[in-house]
Subunit: 182 residues, 2 copies
């Protein structure tokens, strides 16, 4: 593996309320130089939760996504707030979005979304031993909670309204993990 | 499922060479209004390719990602150029990044990255019956091509330098598909 490129320059070139774009000038170890852009966000972490109601039933949510302009099925997720651990954030989001807390929370894998363009990282958290508890979230409307069977996961993933790469990766990894436990 | 929110307003609030941010004012069917931001890019499509050298060997690439500031393993991918089909784009990217063309190309699933914040869609393309052919790409340095066994996929996914959600989802879906063929 070559040694890491040198970051010759890094400057902010655009900013909105949510997004910040950096432009970077890189020199690769072979001398080649390139200019790149990336979405900055190094300090924000996120969690995506796989809430297991029993060994085969996972709780999905249906939520409007303005990116795709439609209602999408996926796993509950959210940002880790300042001062929170990943586990605390996962349990809070679970209570806000699904109406359950979890007695067992377990980190499974850290996901990136686009290593070339985004700094953002998302931790998959497997949540088991659920108990009913609801926290007030900031959703504009109540989210549908949709139970799905891991044993029928292929049919769920084949749907046109279950498309998010992080949800699909997390569901498939959780199913494999739970199968290997048996 | 509630009826779709109304988009009351949509305006561009930031732009760089690569990224464009839109701010949207939405009214949900229950009357609630919210302001959101999203990364626009509705017209750009992308492909991620699962190149199978044989029934168990997939070809990964190792590439520097300035988002994560490190070398990452993942599947070859890229934008669909104007006038290209998804299949043509997949074959071109495969030749540029891996040094192979494919006689059999098959769409597997359309992935979103973040339905709430991004319009971007990526088609998974399974590539089989490979033949050596290289096209010149625009990479600053040659990419390492790393053969990996689907039968050892858990060990690859456990690595700290294989994190991209789209790659992990595509690899797990391709493995399942190829297993079901047997």
């Amino acid at each position: 593996m070559p040694s890491l490129p040198k970051i010759l320059q890094c400057q902010q070139v655009a900013q909105s309320k949510l997004f910040r774009v950096e432009q970077l000038q890189l020199q690769f170890s072979n001398g080649e130089q390139r200019t790149y852009e990336r979405l900055a966000g190094g300090k924000t972490a996120a969690v995506i939760i796989v809430p297991m109601l029993d060994n085969d039933t996972v709780l999905l949510i249906r939520e409007y996504g303005v990116g795709v302009e439609g209602y999408e099925l996926g796993l509950p997720k959210g940002k880790v707030d300042a001062g929170e651990t990943h586990m605390e954030a996962a349990n809070r989001e679970l209570k806000e979005e699904v109406g359950y807390g979890a007695k067992d929370l377990q980190l499974m894998k850290c996901l990136s979304q686009s290593p070339n363009y985004m700094q953002h990282k998302t931790q998959i958290v497997l949540a088991r031993n659920l108990y009913p508890e609801r926290l007030e979230g900031d959703e504009p409307e109540p989210l549908d909670v949709v139970p799905a069977k891991l044993s029928e996961l292929e049919q769920w993933i084949a749907r046109d309204d279950l498309t998010e790469a992080r949800s699909i990766a997390a569901l498939l990894l959780a199913r494999q993990y739970l199968q290997d436990l048996k």
